[in-house]
Symmetry: C2
């Protein structure tokens, strides 16, 4: 049975030593003193460890069951969800005007990592509700906010996003679901949506569906899509529940993982809905919340990596096989623990370096969202928009890779359900797919974000790296181990960006053929930057006489990343520079 | 429902145009004329497509069931296994003296790819029997061979290998299973074995277990292990079945994949067995057959990649989403098929280039086994011993990667059980683990194979690459696209090998910390060599006026591999040269 312990200390290090939230000058960050964040994260950790993690395998084994239109979640999910709700964990960064606690996105992000690592399928129910709240908060009318947000923020009611249809997922311009206006200002929504996570379940009294649909005579393609709010149970003016709406879950997907989360086929048969925002502005409404939603998926990826790593590490400490090549480490035992073997360590170091680097990257991203929102900082908004596809695409690829590496640590036992590592692999796999496949992330990055605002956000990123290197430089060993490789990697990224900017105009396929490698190249530079920032913080901490063992481990792990992962930028650059020809040469019939 | 079509033409290309079996001068290869191999492969393909492939999902969904010591295989497996048996598919390369067909290992390998791609779990039942036959053939007495081989070669009886125990897998020196001699020359075998693939099932009348155990007063460690033949049902002198032996399947593992193959816990309780080979020579007996067994696992890896690729490709041709960046490819349809998008093609090209390169590599390996055996060629034996850990470790990693890439092609649908791609991922995952984890393969490569015979096999490999480059050189485009990158990659491999040979004596951890990267570096050079050989064959074929479309596709795919995969050698070299320090620095307590 896998275990999970919240990495509170590592999180505290990122919050206070790396991001230095106390000095960030972002409204609301003053409340985030070390004692407060430690208390909140530890409390979340307790819930995660004692309540959510033990249900993770239960959820996987039982899955969700659809009967007569109702979805039963796995045993124990209901009670655990109540604890999440009653503890106020669903409302951390929501608007106090509607019952939220008004805490920064950064703190909610740290808590989300803990809850998601412990039980991704269960935590998705509240994560999706949170996303729907954000959309209503940003685009709903005052009346809609007043009616729907308070129970949704408390997670008494759930929320969903309905985009995909059987014939279209990525290409939302093909959507067929119709919205017919009625005399009372509502709309009759008709169509079929698939892939609706948490579309129907027994954890909440009501479910508020946000549905993309077309108004009559809407323009073709994505410019003719509007967003509608469609409750499972209609809500009376006084907020009490009324009649059942004309919608139903007609099927559940049988999936590779996240069995505890219901992935629904939803049929809308003239269901009553209300327009959210302006007509034909549905895509805009969806995209407003995309940065935070995609950051949340990047988080899910490395959160599964974290829990997988913890269990692989424990196995490697306990399991006795073979002897260390440099002489037995434990001669009194029949064999040494496998953690003495260099190749086992190599796997564990990969897992550790990737996960801790990813955490720092995501926390930094969350702090950019806070800065953009709370300081109305357009530069921070532009930067997080640029980084969002990297966070989502790179970190979910690496999170899945981390789970596969962790599964490999115990050998055969990693393939069994008992040890539970294989579930982390299966659950993490979806993060590379949903909220826009990672291929789509890379196209968004190269096709849209790279040249946004004349390339200014990208230039700002390079300046930020340059400034960091200039400020941090001085110690010869630090320069050699961190700053030089970071500079080289950032140089590779610049070369690749120039290649795209030059080719993009005349030969879009040259850019698109290298988009995936560019996303990874960018990801490595970002994580390399974060490891350099962590190493600098560790140096500073050691000079200040803080815990040397903990900080030495950070430096060692950072050196590992810089020496063994960051050189991948050269490979990605070589692939990018090979251009479109190798990718596009083959005739379609020859595949 | 996934489909499978045997890639007969691609196989014929490797057999006849690349390996040129007709000119190889290996006894038995004269029979392998193109018409004969085409007929055999097509026939195997029919069986695979019509009978085995449709049962692949059935096997996954139903799994195996243990009741009262008996394992029931999934519906249809029994009838399909009978067709395998009756068609003579289990006896292709077995000794004609015992009812085999005496065909080369190479042809059996090509057939095994087809059967394994269609239904890995089902085909394992005969693959394991084949391995047990090989061990008996090599080490059994004349009487043992006469009694056991004929029904095993016909697969009326199954066979297994029993190595792992609950407390030891990789480190077989820790084995505790005992063998007590009895007066009649038999032994009483007592102990528990785990991970026994096909340890109990209903496909065969009897199962012959080969079991590693210790004789009384055996030396400690691996030098005190002997091999025993332990039938499920004792065999009378006339070959008829007698009493049930004192052994039982006491449990089935619940696993991530290959659900249709029973992974058994086996309890031996004073079971009657017979010594195979000399006392204390059990490890030697196991290792004799290791090259072929590990080649078989490397094959399983890319075979799953092949079937995954076929289904991803079909999806990419059918699914309409978005428009080509260079202008619509099919303006009459609501959207273009996703195969027009460069990033979708990138994924498909990765899958295709890896799979076809892997096939050529494995076929080459099988031809080396044939040459070693049939020509008693010590150099071929030494070369395949060197390459075996690369074939097993690199090709199963890449086979799994191919399945994950294929699963990504359809986006969300790839995560569903319906499409079936997720099963290929789960099934392929085991190949990285069993028959020695890939980490162990890398340690075998660097710790044992690299310096074997003073490094002569390694030098012979480099000479082989050099000679090929010298002979093939001449055409400027071919040199630039294939031979130069191959030469550079081979140079990286030499640099890495020198690093290890220099460090190996004084600092084993420096070699072991880079072993995994070395295995991958080596794998890339081998597959780069095979793509160069395929490209040369394609050039020659085109000059001879053969099918230009097919050969052009080979050249295009080869160029893709050389341009976009082979540069990975530089990354692996950089990691290797970073040495042991980054890997070993962290204190065990700091993980």
């Amino acid at each position: 049975m896998p275990r999970y312990t919240a990495p509170v200390r590592d999180m505290q290090f990122v919050l206070h030593d790396v991001l230095k939230v106390g000095e960030a000058g972002i409204p609301g960050y003053d409340d985030l003193d070390p004692a407060t964040t430690r208390a909140i994260l530890s409390e979340a950790g307790k819930l995660a460890q004692d309540v959510l993690a033990p249900l993770n395998r239960v959820g996987d084994a039982q899955g969700c069951v659809l009967r007569d239109g109702t979805v039963r979640t796995p045993d124990g999910f209901g009670a655990a969800f109540e604890q999440l709700r009653d503890g106020g964990w669903t409302a951390l960064d929501c608007d106090p005007a509607y019952g939220g606690q008004g805490l920064p996105c950064l703190l909610a992000t740290a808590v989300a990592e803990i809850l998601s690592a412990a039980n991704m399928a269960l935590n998705m129910y509240q994560g999706l509700t949170h996303g729907a709240c954000n959309a209503i908060q940003a685009h709903g009318s005052a009346a809609q906010k007043a009616m729907y947000l308070p129970p949704m923020i408390r997670c008494e009611w759930g929320g969903t996003m309905n985009l995909t249809e059987p014939h279209c997922g990525t290409d939302l311009g093909l959507i067929r679901t119709r919205a017919e206006p009625r005399d009372d200002g509502s709309y009759a929504i008709t169509g079929t949506k698939i892939w609706i996570s948490a579309g129907e379940h027994d954890l909440c009294d009501n479910i508020i569906h946000l549905v993309l649909a077309r108004l009559p005579q809407a323009p073709e393609g994505v410019k003719g899509i509007s967003l509608f709010l469609v409750p499972k149970i209609l809500v009376n003016d006084d907020g009490t529940l009324g009649a059942r709406n004309a919608l139903a879950c007609t099927g559940l997907e049988s999936k590779m993982g996240i069995h505890g989360n219901a992935t629904c086929v939803m049929a809308y048969e003239g269901a009553t809905g209300w327009l959210v925002g302006a007509p034909h502005q549905g895509m805009r409404a969806m995209f407003t919340m995309m940065n935070e939603a995609r950051l949340g998926v990047g988080l899910q990826g490395y959160a599964q990596g974290e829990v997988a790593y913890q269990n692989a590490r424990d196995f490697a400490r306990d399991r006795l096989q073979g002897r260390a090549a440099t002489g037995s480490a434990t001669p009194d035992r029949p064999a040494d623990p496998i953690i003495v073997h260099p190749d086992v360590r190599r796997g564990l170091m990969d897992q550790k370096a990737l996960t801790e680097g990813a955490r720092a990257f995501v926390f930094w991203g969350a702090s950019l969202i806070d800065r953009a929102r709370r300081c109305d900082d357009a530069q921070a908004e532009a930067l997080i928009s640029l980084l969002t596809p990297v966070i989502k695409g790179f970190l979910t690829d690496k999170g899945f890779e981390t789970c596969v590496l962790a599964q490999q640590t115990p050998g055969g036992a990693g393939f069994t359900r008992d040890l539970g590592l294989e579930q982390f692999v299966r659950d993490a796999r979806i993060t590379m797919v949903y909220e826009g496949t990672n291929g789509i992330q890379s196209v968004d990055l190269v096709g849209r974000k790279l040249a946004a605002d004349g390339g200014k956000p990208l230039m700002a990123f390079f300046d930020l790296v340059k400034d960091f290197i200039a400020q941090a430089s001085g110690d010869a060993a630090f320069d050699a181990q961190f700053l030089s490789p970071l500079k080289a990697a950032s140089g590779d990224l610049q070369t690749a960006a120039m290649f795209f900017l030059n080719k993009g105009m005349t030969s879009p396929n040259d850019a698109l053929a290298g988009s995936y490698d560019f996303m990874h190249l960018f990801g490595h530079v970002c994580v390399g930057l974060m490891w350099s920032r962590m190493a600098l913080a560790a140096h500073q901490g050691m000079e200040a006489g803080e815990n040397a063992d903990f900080l030495t481990a950070k430096l060692d792990t950072g050196r590992y990343y810089m020496a063994r992962h960051l050189p991948a930028t050269k490979l990605h650059l070589a692939r990018i520079e090979s251009g479109a020809a190798p990718v596009m040469a083959l005739d379609e019939a020859a595949f």
